[in-house]
Each structure stands twice: as C-alpha cells, then as structure tokens.
Amino acid sequence: MAILEILTLPEPALKQESSPVTEFDDALRAFIADLEETRVNGPAAVGIAAPQVGYFKRVVVLDCSTTRKPVPNHGRLVLVNPEITHWEGYEPGREGCLSVPDYTGNVIRATRIHLVAQDPYGERLEFDMEGYEARAAQHEIDHLDGILFVDRVVSRRTDLFKRKVYQKGGGKAS
C-alpha cells in the first residue's frame, strides 16, 4: 500500500477523460487500495477519483458515512466504470477538491440520481443516491470526464437569478 501523489491545478492531465476499466485483476485491486489510502490521508476528503492520482481509468472511491450530521448513504463505495442513468432535481451545495487546494465554492448538482457501476471484481452494482452522496458521486464522476468543480461553480446570486427566471416560466436569461 502507498499514498499516491495528488495532481493539483493547473496540471493539464486533470482535464483528461479517463478510459473504462476492462481488466478486473489484482493490479486493479492493489491500485484501489492505494487510492483509498490516499483518500483517507487527505484532509477531510470524502471521495477521490483515479485521475486525481494520475491513473486515467474510471475508478472512484467515496464514503459519506462520516459527515458531522448523518446523511443518507451507502457506506464506503468503490465504483468502477460508474455511470449515472437518471437525474432528478437540483440544488446548490458547497464543494472543495483535493486537486484545488484552498478553494471552495457553490455547485449545482442533481439531488437524486440512479447510478450503475461495477465492483473491483467486475460485478454489477446499482444505487439510488440522494443529497450529499449524490453530490459526491457527481463530483467524482466529473473527474473521470476531466471536469473539475471549479468549472461548475456559481455565485449564490446567479443561482437566485436562475430560479427567478425559471419560476416565471419561459423567461430567457439575458
């Protein structure tokens, strides 16, 4: 086991798309153990995605069971080739990132998702997630697509404005 080096902005590789895992072998599982050790080593990291340590395969680890106030969660999850198949609702919430030290911002994410993935042995997994855990999955899957949360940050003012327009129905944002 080893703690891996975390890539941080402006490292261009963080913008790279990761490829699906095809070999569910011991090497994959050894990497996942290192990835998890790196996650828990990071300050307050709830999730981590493989490309954050320079491994450009579709693997993420997240664990929403340790929040200050308990939130609905499925415990520690290792998700290989995760894919969101359904989104519902949206809400802003604050995010930060191991790859973007000393910065947090508000991001709008779907409030409920359905997610399919594989475990480290290639077995199919399926979850309905909500709230904080749904946010975690969306943040980590973004990493697999080369998207950082800073690409999605909104101001609270922007968020209010969007809602006002939306509620009027059919108004166009200028």
Binding site: G42, P43, A44, A45, V46, G47, I48, A49, L62, T67, R68, K69, V71, G93, R94, E95, G96, C97, L98, D102, Y103, T104, Y132, R135, A136, H139, E140, H143, R156, R157, L160, K164
Partner: protein, 174 residues
C-alpha cells in the same frame, strides 16, 4: 520597498469594459491582483481588490487616477495587512427573506454576532416590486455553536414575521 498589499476600492456607473480597463492599467503598472470582489449594485459597478507591487507610496494613486477618472469612477486606496491563502470555510448558512423594512439586517446580524457567528460573506438584495419590496439576504459564516443554537438566537426574528432559515454547510471535499 517591500511588496505591500493595498485594498483598491472603485465605484462608478456600470458600463461594459470597466474591469478590462482597470485591470489592464494595473497590469501595465506591474501590479498583481489578489482576492477581489466585483459586483453590480443598484446600477453601479463596485470593485474591491487586493493589489500588490513594489512601488513607493503614492505611486499607485497617481498613476491610476487618470485611468479611473476616464472610466467615470471614484477610487479609494488603503494599505492593508493581508496574506493570501487565509480562507475560512463556512459551516453555517442563514437565508432571510421578508417584507422590506428598516432594521432587518441589524437585527439578524446582531443576533448572529451575539451567538458567536462570524460572517464570511453576506449578499442582500431587494426583490419583489416597488409597491411590495421583499428583502432577501444570504449569509455564510463560521460558528462553533451548533445550528440549533443559531436557530434559537434567531427565533425572536421569526416571531416578528421574518422568514429565517439556518442550515449547516457540509462542504464536500473530493
């Protein structure tokens, strides 16, 4: 002359190109920017920014003045004790809305201060219509006290007809 941070405050009627003109002038003078806030308030454009550079006293003001005046803006400069990377992460947010009347901000923030709540960011706006103005305020801050005690502190406002919501901010780090 060591590099000294200054807080540069600029205010003027909003129009396209202000930020470009000002920041180009700062760049041309060899100054660097730190954290900034730029916002349209009531038809004015307001800028507060940390700027630094190794120049003698008065240099900044003398050189910037023509540029700022050409933009029809007022300028104010203060030397400040400042460092970057001093961010605090908010853990509680308070949203307030209610019929606009004098004293809402003072009452809410007074109650928050008494509860030991440190405001990091406050945005407020008057929405609704000219006949029925609605005051909307969003506050993010840090407090050691739990959400419940902040709620209790704001309870008198609720009885006064102000809609106050307090929630914990669980920042997702991944």
């Amino acid at each position: 002359m060591t590099d000294q941070w200054h807080m540069l405050t600029l205010i003027g009627e909003d129009k396209p190109g202000i930020v470009a003109a000002v920041t180009q002038a700062l760049f041309d003078l060899g100054l660097n920017l730190g954290e900034t806030s730029m916002l349209r308030l009531g038809g004015n454009f307001t800028i507060m920014m940390m700027v630094t550079g190794s120049h003698p006293d008065g240099f900044l003001e003398d050189r910037l003045k023509p540029v700022i005046e050409a933009q029809g803006m007022c300028m104010h400069i203060d030397p400040i004790q400042a460092r970057l990377h001093q961010h605090l992460v908010p853990n509680i947010q308070v949203t307030v809305s209610g019929a606009d009347r004098a004293g809402i901000v003072a009452q809410v923030t007074g109650a928050l201060a008494a509860a030991g709540f440190n405001i990091l960011d406050l945005e407020s706006d008057v929405a609704g219509t000219a006949n029925r103005p609605v005051y909307i305020m969003q506050i993010a801050g840090v407090a050691d006290a739990p959400v419940e005690s902040i709620e209790d502190a704001l309870e008198p406002l609720r009885r006064d007809g102000v809609d106050v919501n307090v929630s914990a901010i669980e920042t997702y780090i991944g």
